[in-house]
Amino acid sequence: MAMVEPRSTKYRVLASHLGMLCFIALILFPLLMVISISFRSGNFATGSLLPEVPSLEHWSLALGIPYTDDAGNVVQPPFPVLLWLWNSIKIAVISSLLILALSTTAAYAFARMRFAGKGFVLKSMLIFQMFPPVLSLVALYALFNEIGKHISWLGLNTHGAVIVASLGGMALHIWTIKGYFDSIDRSLEEAAIVDGATTWQAFRYILLPLSVPILMVVFILAFIMTIMEYPMASILLVDTDKLTLAVGAQQYLYEQNYLWGDFAAAAVLSGLPITLVFLYCQRWIVGGLTAGGVKG
């Protein structure tokens, strides 16, 4: 390292470390607090960060096991958290696979083919994507109400409706994948086509294997976006055992029925797997965030 270093560097490094550690402590406070609260007994307990008398009542309820307190009363789990988590994961996996398949093929056409209205479609997709989904809820509700009268698994209060509705949000993913395709030299595919491959074969056997990294990114991003989707699911899903985690979790914190401790355990239990997946995949995600936006 041939960097020219001023004398004050040592102190500045020290200060940076200190500053960052303080900042991290501040940032992590809410997360640590929730973990701590999930081990306190009762829903209104206060105390230090390390609970003096750890209790597993909230965890037992979050896992769906009825809890017997000291007085012998049996407390039933308030909500089916694990079922909600499963619903969320099921919906997110199916929709992200569909989104991935459909946006990859679309991105291929946008990146490699020439056809009428290409630029117009690409640009208008990006603009219409900005229309907040919250405002289209009235129309979507009416739409799924009508469809549901004829196709029962696509009606209101079905997971099918939520999965299908998530297909509206593909524009960003198409842009991301298209940006990546643009960066791959097209001479390989052209060579294959000269040798007699069809367009589809060139796409399937040459371009796709080269694009696995970006497909990973898009899958993860789509997965996270559908897991966190709130407005649409909150309108389409009604029954308690059909809800996704994003819609169900808030039911713990109603003014009249404030289950703070139970919520803490449920939040840690259901948030942890999602957080770990995200942290594990963060390297690819960082690449993907800048790839779509900057290269264009």
Binding site: L31, F44, T46, A109, M170, Q250, W260, F263
Partner: protein, 498 residues
């Protein structure tokens, strides 16, 4: 050959199913939806059949999904914005008329006391009046709609004791649903626990679609401007039907002070919130990214993972966590603040504190994204620029202002605008954290001091007792124009070539 047959077979089956759906929708007078699916099916067939449209096969699913779930709802919402569609004006004119004509009342003139018997064949009801008795055939008592049971003056009443009043009370729901048919065509239903009475239609239709109340004799005229049946005195019958309202909803937003006041207040706050979020997250993210890029710092992996954590935790969970921690009475944040400084801010009931809280929470949620973006962009700045500036004796502030910032601003601008647009519509944050509270005083629609335009619209459409979809859609259209213009600028700024 078999492949071709298979392909056309599958296509034919799918088209058949789609056509069935379209015809069914058309038969139910859902013309908009029938039209929508007709367009979708027709374009699908065109794309699959035509060789010239080969490239469109690849983009069809994405474009169709976009059309069905983004563009169609958008147009639908814009359309609703020009009507008075709301909880009281949901139905079409024909359905309203049907609904009103099916209303009945019980005539006081023909009341019967009754006895209920339980026999082996089922229940038997005996209606008693001065003229004699009407006796029913045996029937089963069940909740819900049942076909009318006939009663006749000739049948003989069963022997034995009728059911006690106590047992009749037990059966009152089923009895309430019971309809009796007299031989002269009158229909009777339960008027009280002890009596049955004749049902008569409340409204009678005469020419020109006017309705006359058979009890009071008042005539109601359909008013196609307001969407209600109205009497000469201006008395309205509910429900009304949906009519075209022109620009009324937009006019209300501008001229009605109980709407325009809150609207402007919410609009300003939405702008402040979005700009504030972008500035705070950018400053924090850029600072941290610079520190993490610095060669002298050890343990980058650790710092990076820790700093990214707020982004990794699902937002709907961390927002709810903050909702609990900021709780005024037993939230941990107020406990800490009280023990350190002796203050207990009213995070949820004081408007400015609530806004502060929202900005704190959103900065916490959003800075990792900015940090990640800045880290990616910082890597693309050539290192020798910093070498050169160090030779000239420049400090970190100089480096930041003269090298880093100018170089990353250009690629960052479209991302900042996208972030602004996202936060402009950050519905989930408001819905889960404050729900818009505390409320704005003097607003005629539900409106809160922390509401963003989107959550305000959502509350008008779904939470208000009036469910004023028309007004909500009008505001939604305004929002879309703002956000759409922003994304157009964004496209221009980022100079994307397609």
């Amino acid at each position: 050959m078999t492949r071709a047959i298979l392909k056309w077979g599958v296509l034919a089956v799918l088209v058949g199913m789609a056509l069935y759906l379209i015809v069914a929708l058309y038969a139910q007078r859902e013309f908009v939806f029938a039209m929508l699916f007709l367009v979708l099916t027709a374009s699908a067939v065109a794309v699959l059949v035509s060789k010239r449209l080969y490239a469109h096969r690849y983009i069809y699913p994405a474009v169709a999904g976009m059309g069905l779930f983004v563009i169609f709802p958008l147009m639908y919402a814009v359309g609703i914005g020009f009507t008075n569609y709301s909880a009281s004006n949901l139905l079409s004119f024909e359905r309203v008329q049907e609904n009103l004509l099916s209303r009945t009342y019980q005539s006081e003139s023909a009341r019967y006391n009754y006895d209920l018997y339980k026999t082996d064949a089922g229940y038997v009801i005996v209606l008693k009046s001065d003229d004699g008795e009407l006796v029913s055939e045996p029937f089963e008592l069940e909740d819900g709609k049942v076909p009318p049971v006939e009663v006749s003056p000739t049948a003989t009443a069963p022997t034995g004791e009728p059911l006690a009043f106590r047992d009749i009370i037990k059966q009152r729901n089923a009895l309430g649903a019971l309809r009796l048919q007299a031989p002269d065509g009158r229909e009777l239903s339960m008027a009280s626990l002890r009596a049955f009475a004749t049902i008569k239609p409340l409204y009678e239709k005469s020419g020109n679609d006017t309705l006359t109340n058979t009890r009071t004799g008042v005539t109601y005229f359909p008013n196609q401007d307001t969407g209600f049946y109205e009497s000469a005195d201006g008395d309205k019958l509910v429900p009304g039907w949906t009519v075209n309202a022109g620009f009324d909803n937009y006019k209300r937003v501008i001229t009605d002070p109980s709407i325009s006041g809150p609207f402007m207040q919410i609009f300003v706050w939405t702008l402040l919130f979005s700009v504030g979020t972008v500035v705070f997250t950018l400053v924090l993210g850029l600072l941290l990214a610079n520190l993490l890029q610095w060669d002298q710092i050890r343990g980058k992996g650790f710092y990076r993972t820790m700093l990214i954590l707020p982004y990794a935790v699902p937002a709907f969970i961390s927002i709810l966590v903050f909702k609990g921690l900021f709780n005024q009475n037993f939230g941990e944040i107020n406990l800490v603040l009280e023990s350190l400084f002796g203050i207990r801010p009213d995070w949820f009931s004081d408007p400015s504190m609530a806004r502060t809280m929202i900005l704190i929470v959103n900065t916490w949620l959003g800075y990792p994204y900015m940090m990640l973006l800045c880290m990616g962009l910082l890597q693309s700045i050539p290192r020798d620029l910093y070498e050169a500036s160090a030779m000239d004796g420049a400090g970190p502030i100089n480096n930041l202002m003269n090298i880093t910032f100018p170089l990353i601003l250009k690629p960052l601008a479209p991302l900042l605008i996208a972030s602004f647009a996202f936060n402009f519509n950050n519905f989930v944050l408001i819905a889960l954290l404050t729900g818009g509270a505390p409320d704005i005083i003097g607003a005629s629609t539900p409106a809160g001091t922390t509401d963003l335009l989107v959550s305000y619209t959502y509350r008008i459409a779904f939470q208000d007792s009036g469910q004023n979809f028309g007004l909500a859609a009008a505001i939604a259209t305004v929002i879309f124009l703002v956000v759409g213009a922003l994304s157009l600028i964004n496209l221009k700024l980022s100079k994307i070539k397609v």
